[in-house]
């Protein structure tokens, strides 16, 4: 990474460029359908920013972000279903999918989700709280490396199976058919565009928050814990506490992404949050470059874009092409897409020996 992007001017111009693309170029160039798809990709990118922090900076291989993404998504979906039911049948009405399943009485745990304030608070607090509890239990016991990865992945698998068994949460089918988002009709093109703007803005905020954390003293501590946890502990820091914070922030980002995913895509089901989606989240970060600020965003967008573009071109063989692409990126660019400028720089230097003289 060149010095410019770390300077004040660099940060500002980076954000300005991103804002210009997200708020200017994208809505101008993309059709309604493609813009909605882009909003979906941005949700994945928001999860990726959190993984970049926890894994790239904190060294925690979080293979289970689907849990927090799913919590945010289901919490939001419950509110949307309650709002729909209330709009159709007045207060206390039962959501349509329960009616079909023969449920006449609203389960007690659904009742508070009629309130938008409660829902938003739950989206922020529940996944974060769960991550803190899990983090304390795991990191205090100094579980790390592959053991932590296995544990987090098992959690994602268990969560998906748990949801499939919950008929009052739609079971295997999940929750879908949302009509309104905080009082606005979801199938209105103007509102869909607004939803895209909200999602894009959330991405910028999340990236800015991540930048803030990286550049703070805490961020340096986090990297230190990643690289030499024992030494940090001997210096008197609470290494487990440092990790818990990054894990909780990543969980919060994933939850926000999930909450936005539901109105954008219109469905959430266990298939979107289990082990495979959790690995896909991580894959985007790896492809993009986990250590950098912007790498996870670029990677998540690139993976999602490649998936859509390839499957539209080659509906029956795209999975091979995608696999090949992953192998190539990992083999040729171990640092991810974000390392392309550096790699290109090295190649240039190699081809012009006199340049080496000049820079050294």
């Amino acid at each position: 990474m060149s010095k410019f992007w770390e300077s004040r001017l660099g940060v500002w111009s980076g954000f300005a460029a991103a804002a210009a693309v997200l708020f200017g170029l994208a809505p101008l160039l993309l059709s309604g359908f493609r813009l909605g798809l882009f909003a979906q990709f941005i949700c994945y990118a928001i999860v990726a920013v959190g993984i970049g922090l926890a894994w790239g900076r904190g060294g925690m291989l979080t293979l289970g972000q689907g849990v927090f993404f799913g919590m945010g998504a289901y919490l939001m979906a419950m509110h949307l279903k309650m709002a729909d039911a209330e709009f159709r049948g007045g207060p206390g009405a039962v959501p349509d999918f329960m009616e079909l399943a023969g449920v006449r009485e609203l389960p007690a745990y659904w009742v508070p989700f009629a309130s938008p304030v409660f829902t938003i608070a739950a989206i922020v607090l529940l996944p974060t709280g769960l991550a803190v509890l899990l983090g304390l239990a795991v990191f205090k016991r100094r579980v790390k490396g592959a053991y932590f990865a296995i544990l987090s992945q098992a959690l994602a698998g268990a969560f998906a199976i748990f949801l499939i068994g919950q008929q009052s949460l739609g079971g295997f089918n999940g929750l879908s058919y949302f009509r309104y988002f905080f009082g606005f009709t979801l199938n209105d093109p103007v509102n869909q565009r607004m939803l895209y703007f909200i999602t894009a803005a959330a991405l910028l905020v999340v990236v800015a928050a991540s930048l803030q954390l990286r550049r703070s003293r805490y961020g340096e501590l986090l990297v230190a814990v990643r690289d030499a946890e024992e030494r940090v502990r001997f210096l008197g820091y609470d290494a487990a506490g440092v990790k818990v914070v990054a894990y909780a922030v990543a969980a919060l980002f994933a939850s926000i992404a999930g909450a936005l995913f539901v109105p954008v895509v219109g469905i959430i089901s266990p298939a979107s949050i289990g082990i495979v989606p959790s690995i896909m989240f991580l894959l985007g970060v790896a492809i993009g470059g986990r250590g950098t600020l912007i790498g996870p965003v670029v990677g998540a967008l690139a993976v999602a874009f490649a998936q859509t573009a390839l499957s539209e071109q080659f509906p029956s063989a795209w999975t091979y092409a995608q696999g090949l692409l992953f192998v190539c990126v990992i083999a040729l660019l171990p640092g991810g897409i974000a390392s392309i400028p550096a790699v290109a720089g090295r190649i240039r230097v190699k081809h012009r020996p006199e340049a080496v003289e000049a820079t050294t």
């Binding site: 909605g36 023969g102 949302f178 606005f184 803005a201 905020v205 298939a271």
Partner: protein
């Protein structure tokens, strides 16, 4: 370190503040659209019929766990389109099938459905298999007022103006299966199913039927989708000594279940198993020796004796190979394309409104017999058939309903089912 780190957070904080300001500006710039209850602008369909072709979509899983089943449906859709094209097309236009991969994921089904409608401007889409995929696509087809032809038997309790259901609903598959079992003297049942909406709904119906008809339910067990651990359940089934087992397991679980069933020495003579998700395609995977003599409930088997079916099987084998088999969902998808074409011809228009209006009463002489679209609920009338699995791996009809059964997705015509679901 050349400078104090404390300075840096403030800079980032300012970046956040600026971002927030930007959001407010953007929010102000973008006017808000319709609120709940207000009318929204209708989506303008972009279907272009000026050329000599008409586009339709085929949306099936070509990757993921469902690919093995759903690619066979795609084959049947392509075959039907080829046949219609060879006979001169629809309203004189050749059908151009655009296939997309649903990837066994509901979210992808929704995405590709929207792509087919809004980018490719198709006249109709054929596809979907799991209820999850149909539920994911339903709002898309309603929002953009387009047509989906869904070709798989399902749990009923649904009737969208934008979906034509060419597979069986519960009164064309599960209830006839129960009638058959009751007729053959079955007085007790054991229920085994995968844990998701179809088996749950099916078993709710079976329980209500059993209560009304004096059949005893000796057990009801669910396993997670994809589970292959059946020793406990099969032992319980064996110990319960029911007259028959009603099986709503899905996919790989059937393989493990029937192997275990045969392992403990249970046979079709002692305790027959009635299955609703096992067709010609699945028998090979389970192993004929493990399942021979067992029963299945569908509307179509490859062995159905009719002229239309002989022609269908012959055309399919000629196109895709002599070793391939035809099954119920494939046949329903094949019918779907022909029914759509017949409806378009009747309406003399590809427009969604015209097709919806003309659909009621449209019929097609399909391999299973005559199928007729019910204009009330967009399902089709179908002949119910109980099949027995024989040693050649095919299913043979041992009982069939007297003519096609009218679709009744909400079971309004069954008194004992009154408590099952709310009215439409």
């Amino acid at each position: 370190m050349p400078h104090r780190p404390e300075h840096r957070p403030r800079r980032a904080a300012r970046a956040i503040a600026a971002t927030a300001a930007l959001i407010v500006t953007a929010g102000a710039a973008a006017a808000c659209g319709a609120r709940a209850g207000e009318e929204t602008d209708a989506f303008e369909p972009c279907l272009d019929t000026s050329g000599d072709t008409v586009k339709v979509g085929a949306l099936n899983s070509q990757s993921g766990t469902m690919a093995i089943s759903e690619t066979t449906v795609l084959d049947a859709i392509l075959l039907a389109a080829d046949q219609i094209n060879a006979a001169g097309g629809v309203l004189g236009k050749q059908i151009e099938v655009i296939d997309e991969d649903g990837a066994s994921e509901p979210v992808v089904f929704a995405e590709k459905a929207e792509k087919l409608i809004r980018e490719d401007c198709v006249a109709a889409v054929f596809g979907g298999w799991t209820s999850a995929s149909r539920k994911a696509m339903l709002p898309v087809f309603e929002d953009y007022d387009s047509l989906l032809y869904y070709p798989v038997q399902y749990e009923g309790l649904e009737a969208s103006e934008n979906i034509f259901y060419t597979g069986a609903t519960t009164n064309q598959q599960i209830i006839p299966a129960l009638d058959y079992l009751a007729e053959t003297g079955v007085e007790s049942l054991y229920l085994v199913g995968s844990d998701y909406v179809f088996p749950r709904t099916a078993n709710a119906i079976i329980n209500a039927y059993a209560e009304a008809h004096g059949i005893e339910i000796l057990g009801e067990d669910y396993v997670p989708l994809g589970s292959t651990e059946f020793s406990t359940i099969v032992n319980q089934v064996s110990a319960a000594g029911a007259d028959a087992v009603f099986n709503t397991l899905n996919g790989d679980s059937n393989v493990a279940f029937f192997r275990e069933y045969a392992n403990v020495g249970l046979t079709a003579e002692q305790m027959p198993v009635m299955s609703v998700s096992i067709a010609e395609e699945e028998v090979g995977g389970i192993g004929v020796e493990n399942i021979v003599g067992q029963l299945a409930a569908w509307n179509y088997y490859q062995t159905v004796e009719s002229e239309a079916n002989a022609a269908f099987v012959e055309a399919f084998k000629a196109e895709y190979g002599a070793d391939r088999v035809t099954s119920d969902p494939m046949e329903a998808a094949y019918n779907a394309v022909h029914l759509w074409a017949a409806t378009v011809e009747k309406a003399a228009s590809f427009a969604v409104d015209d097709v919806q209006e003309a659909a009621g009463g449209v019929s097609f002489e399909g391999p299973e017999g005559t199928v007729v679209i019910d204009g009330e609920n967009n399902h089709v009338s179908k002949t119910a058939r109980i099949g027995e699995i024989r040693s050649d791996g095919l299913l043979y009809t041992v009982w069939e309903s007297e003519g096609p059964i009218e679709p009744d997705p909400f079971l309004d015509g069954y008194e004992w089912a009154a408590d099952l679901a709310v009215a439409e």
